[in-house]
Symmetry: C2
Subunit: 804 residues, 2 copies
């Protein structure tokens, strides 16, 4: 038949090796190293080896033992990522707590004498910290600005943003977030920690940074793109686990929010990494308990325990809780919209004027933040302390230099506290702890909370997008818990019940704002449960998340999606757009397809690479009788490598001799490996003489021989899901096929050890466990014999049979 | 070009509607209702509507509001599933606790006077309970035997096993597990609860059972196969959540263990269902606290709290913990192997002899279990009670008729207890609670534990596969915690440290055995954490799970996979087999492909359906100039519907007139809907006259117009992953295409609102955020002009361009 006929035409291509790491194309299962033997079968090398240790291809033939070694290496790296991210998180937390703690202690010491001097010192310390942060970012690591989550999401979905996984970005992220969070800006250190984890994972996978001569050979195991992504996924989860001490939340975050595909083996490894982080963080905290970490120890790592909160909830409380969900959805959507506009303006106008403007902007924001957080509490009159409860261990007002609730700020010395200062003039962790605190009804006045809400919301919007590392989790929790507590206060006074805890409402408010802004679901829910250490509130958290996400979705996309759109990162949403239903695959193809013949003139390659920006090109060969045949996909990056090395150029326009030296042997495997975070080759880097341009290049050994294909009139929604589920980057749209060679069903993929077609005759679509006593089989045989007596359209049917 | 040319040939097919629910094919995104208009574009109807409420296709045009309605219905069903499964779990638990509690109370009351009389009563009660269970199963609901998890896994992976989701199966499962668990057999109620949840979900989705006239019209919303599977996934998660009070574990179980694909929207809905279950169960337990549930209240729902267990662990303890992991892997693999052999023997020899044998077998097992659990403790000498600790509240020996530790059995009355009876002659929950109990060092003697381990392991192996509902979780936990505690005792005596808790080792042992037998990872880990309510032990549980799974994998497959294999359910494992790397898609195609022409003689359809068991047939049409063209996939079940209804038969062998009445209009949409759990139509049910056989059938309106295709030399590993990730059932293997119509990249799928190709010119493979100040663009324009001066292979390249 046709297919057999055509195979003769490409037999030469089948004799050569194709060893380029095809997983560059993002196929989670692309066979990197395929060998085609003489009878045309693909002899793929060890799948496991390719998946894990593509770099050591020379050793691929060693078999099972080597595969085992690779698995061990993989797990060892998961361990390293966990250790690294955990230690980085500990370092950042200890630093931030010490800077902030020292700042507040000093300020409190000074304001005992003079508020003006204290104010100046406070402003100055904040300014220095923020300046150091923005200086590091602008001068040293521009890719470390912002939260980094949209970029990592983009990376894991196949889009490389320049510089996000470099060593300098890691360093900038760590020190930058110490400065920005320590400097009291309205941002958090959680998003940056996710980026930090991803950087650590990527650097470990590369075996260190080449630029800084830190790379060691033996670490260069993970060279395939897929391995790198698996590592970065682990790093992401480790980051969340470290940021919130939430290992399960980390795994779910990596699965739900970051990747669009998953595999159960990867999930297990990701979970292992998260658990390692949890162990590291716990050990560090135990070590710090003895007071070896300075100011750290009383604040620091997030667990805002609400386990002594509200035990039970009554049915009529569900209504105010739903209200919290609605408020969260509205405020979250508004937050996304405002930050989108401001970030758009910044990108297109402000930040184009250079680094000086960025630095000035950040310093100005720091100044405003300092003035508001110091100045506003001064205007509040202090409240008298509640009656002391010796059991709770909470002192009111808290002693100077200590942490906790009931801050005495601009109050008379005896038994008074400033409720606005308690949340505003405090470290973030302490402020949230105070907002979540149970058994403290009437601690805050509605006026203070409202003031704080408005001011902090504005500050958070303005701060977002300045050139410092900035997470949105903690600001979101602060905003949300403020209005949550406001609703809680209203409920307390309205329902006049005493078993209602405002802290519980604050927690729900926090969940609702994060849900309304980030639109995460399961992972956010689990994170909230893990950081509050209270499984009982799970259903309530889900309720507000459901409502706030639904309300927010009515207005705009999630925060990360909006920011990714702004940065031109083409993330695919979880569900296809409405108009895709009416489109066929053919309609969706954007530009003209530019294809290459199998043997192409170098000058043509150069001119085509210059004339468009496509990253993949179909390669089309012709059979002996002139029929065209698509033989594979050639990547731009691989073409550039070939052009640069020149060793494959040939004088003849005929396919290269398959019996000669293997063309791939002229290249080191690593040449084709995409640099993890560098710019990569560009056509501008290629300089060829006119002699070179007249030569030819046989592409057959270097192409991906079996890219995914879809028929031209398949619905785009189907294509969309194919892209997302398999993490693809290119797909060929082809005409409807003219015949079907075969039909694969699940049964065909089952491959029992004892392959006996007679006994394994299952119905693959629906296996029915037939009652063995039924006369089904006999009846069928009888019937089948009867059939043969009838005339069959054998001519017509046979025509289609033959292809099988 | 070729493709344009061919389209003329199938223009008539494009004028008709194809409204069959193509998602029957298991494509998660198959467009059920596609309309092809005159210019050949697919005008798919509302995607959302198709996905959710395929049944109400008449209302498909109503737009957004209707979509919203469908979403609400979807969530409402998730709520119902949660409520239903939660209540079923409560009912089962209360019943089991009451039966078992009453049994032990009565026995203890009688043995105060006579051990022989007590023994007989004990045996009799067990026998009656087990008999009632096995009677229900054999006479009424044969599909309810066993745990049901392999079958549900098969269903969610596209393989229907007859009868697993019927109402009678649900009833059999609920009452059968009450009998078998209450009757003291070595099996648990957790696996059956998963099946129960799945049944409830499926029945709700069908709108009740037709057979029992319980169906109501307004519930018949979810008619598409995909909706049904989503519901069953929710039901599965709800079952786990109810069985272990572990909502997060339930979600992860559904994702990791049961489905091979996932979508984040579904995950959120699954989570919601689990949370509802948690609320229902918690409410019921609160209600029972006041003593309204009889014996229930002190035992019952699983939370074996170990929160007062070991606080810290030292480095040298990791070695014995690793030993536990190894033991778990070995014993688990042995368990799988033994149960596989016994189940194989049962299926092929014992159970073929009819229901009487099944009933006798179960009764015999019950008898042996009763004798062992009553007799063996009699042989033990009693131990003196430890010194009373008034704080712990544990009485030794426990008062008769109460629950708890330190069972007085065949002991002198004063301050003695029987350690073997404490675990053997007790309800499962209490036995596990005793094994997990902290602060009870030296409670059990090594001899007792060893006796219990050997006897219970044997009983569990023998009991598995009898014709009663049987879960493997609780037996696994009992076996594992026994040897775990043994190791713990050894460690206590070896390391001579007092901060080691044997209960912690018992917990690790339980995790290791489940890991070694079921090979679950993340979900098992989370379930163990949730049932012991102790997040601190997470890293240790992971360690033993890692080891036990690795050890077990060295020997055989997981328990569910082994059992699925035994039952001929073709589950696809999470990773492709080794030999697939060396195969192409063409090699994997099992049988000859039988294709249909577009208009086919009825006699041919009948004879082909008789002559093979294929479930999908390619349909091939011919263009006007005789070229063949694959126009779609026809399912056997749809063909059978057409044959049965006969309304589409036509006299002419020409394609039906597209301007006439729409062929699909002659069918109710629901005719094509696969019955959720019935047998469906079979070719044996079709009876046609010889006049009918001479007529023709135009298949074009009824086929799935765009099935997935792969080129014939794609690696089978790639095809395998396509199947798993997309949940497919059929895939067409086609020859290499002769041209590429287009190339779709992520960018093409992004579809901004402001679609301006000039500004959105991104590099889709790797988007680099270009510095706008670079002279890149200008340079390129210059260069591009230069290119036009060079000779291009325009003729060759243009040939392939034109198709785009």
């Amino acid at each position: 038949m046709l297919s057999n006929h055509l195979q003769n035409g490409i037999e030469t291509a089948k004799l050569v090796w194709s060893r380029i790491p095809n997983s560059e194309d993002g196929d989670p299962d692309a066979i990197g190293l395929t060998k085609r033997n003489d009878d045309g079968n693909v002899e793929s090398l060890d799948y496991e080896v390719i998946e894990n240790c593509a770099y050591w291809e020379e050793q691929a033939q060693r078999g099972k033992l080597y595969v085992g070694y690779c698995v061990v290496v993989k797990w060892f790296f998961a361990l390293l990522i966990g250790l690294g991210t955990g230690l980085a998180a500990v370092f950042i937390n200890i630093s931030v707590e010490n800077f902030a703690g020292w700042k507040f202690a000093l300020t409190f010491a000074i304001i005992q004498k003079s508020y003006v001097a204290g104010f100046l010192v406070y402003i100055l310390i904040n300014l220095v910290l923020v300046y150091s942060s923005v200086y590091i970012i602008t001068q040293f690591a521009p890719a470390a600005a912002g939260s980094g989550i949209p970029e990592i999401k983009g990376y894991l979905n196949g889009i490389d943003v320049h510089g996000i996984l470099l060593l300098r970005t890691l360093i900038g992220k760590i020190f930058g977030s110490i400065g920005s969070v320590g400097g009291g800006l309205a941002l958090g250190k959680e998003g940056p920690l996710v980026h930090t984890g991803a950087c650590i994972a990527s650097l470990l996978g590369q075996g260190g940074s080449k630029k800084y001569h830190l790379n060691s050979k033996w670490l260069q195991v993970f060279k395939s793109d897929r391995d790198q992504r698996d590592l970065v996924t682990c790093g992401c989860a480790a980051g969340v686990a470290a940021a919130f001490r939430a290992p399960v939340g980390g795994v779910l975050f990596a699965l739900e929010e970051v990747t669009s595909w998953w595999r159960s083996q990867l999930m297990w490894r990701v979970f292992f990494t998260s658990a390692i982080v949890a162990v590291v963080v716990r050990s560090a905290m135990n070590w710090c308990k003895s007071g070896k970490c300075g100011h750290f120890g009383s604040g620091g790592f997030i667990i805002w325990d609400v386990s002594d909160g509200q035990e039970d909830y009554s049915f009529e409380e569900l209504f105010p809780m739903a209200i919290i969900g609605v408020i969260g959805g509205l405020l979250g959507a508004l937050f996304n919209q405002l930050t989108y506009y401001i970030a758009y303006w910044r990108r297109n106008y402000l930040h184009k004027r250079g680094n000086q403007v960025k630095i000035m902007e950040a310093c100005l924001v720091s100044l405003i933040t300092s003035i508001i957080s110091f100045g506003l509490p001064l205007l509040r009159t202090c409240s008298p302390c509640p009656e002391a409860d010796p059991d709770s261990g909470i002192e009111c007002p808290r002693p100077p230099g200590m942490y906790g609730n009931y801050v005495n700020f601009y109050c008379s010395k005896d038994k008074e506290y400033n409720d606005l200062a308690t949340i505003f003039f405090n470290t973030q962790d302490d402020a949230i702890r105070n907002l979540f605190s149970a058994k403290t009804i009437h601690e805050f006045s509605a006026q203070s909370l409202l003031t704080f809400l408005v001011m902090f919301y504005t500050l958070a919007v303005v701060t977002f997008g300045t050139a410092v590392p900035a997470g949105q989790f903690v600001p979101g929790i602060m905003i949300g818990s403020t209005y949550g507590r406001l609703v809680g206060m209203f409920v307390v006074s309205f329902y006049k019940k005493l078993n209602i805890e405002e802290g519980t409402y604050a927690l729900l408010g926090a969940a609702s704002f994060l849900g309304g802004s980030m639109r995460m679901t399961v992972s956010l829910c689990v994170i909230m449960v893990e950081i509050t250490n209270n499984l009982k509130l799970l259903p309530l958290i889900m309720l507000v998340l459901l409502i706030s996400k639904a309300v927010g979705d009515a207005f705009n996309e999630g925060l990360y999606e909006e920011q990714a759109r702004l940065r031109n990162i083409p993330l695919l949403e979880s569900r296809p757009k409405y108009q895709m239903r009416k489109m066929t695959a053919k309609d969706a193809c954007g530009n003209r397809v530019v294809s290459f013949p199998r043997v192409v003139k170098v000058a043509d390659v150069v001119s085509i690479l210059w004339s468009n920006k496509h990253n993949g090109f179909p390669v089309i060969d012709h059979t002996r009788n002139g029929e065209a045949l698509v033989i594979g996909l050639m990547l731009r990056s691989h073409l550039l490598v070939l052009l640069q090395s020149k060793v494959d150029f040939q004088h003849s326009p005929l396919p290269s001799d398959p019996t000669g030296p293997k063309p791939i042997g002229r290249h080191a495997f690593s040449e084709f490996v995409k640099p993890a975070s560098g710019k990569g080759l560009s056509i501008e880097d290629i300089h060829l003489s006119s002699d070179d341009l007249d030569m030819f290049l046989d592409l057959a050994p270097f192409l991906n021989p079996s890219p995914y294909i879809v028929p031209e009139d398949m619905s785009v929604t189907k294509v969309y899901n194919l892209f997302r589920q398999l993490g693809l980057r290119h797909i060929f749209v082809v005409p409807r096929p003219s015949c079907v060679v075969g039909l694969i069903t699940r049964k065909d993929l089952l491959m029992e050890e004892n392959e006996d077609p007679a006994t394994v005759e299952l119905q693959s679509t629906s296996v029915r466990l037939l009652d063995d006593r039924s006369p089904h089989r006999d009846k069928e045989t009888v019937r089948r014999n009867a059939d043969t007596e009838r005339p069959l359209l054998n001519g017509l049917l046979g025509q289609h049979h033959a292809a099988g």
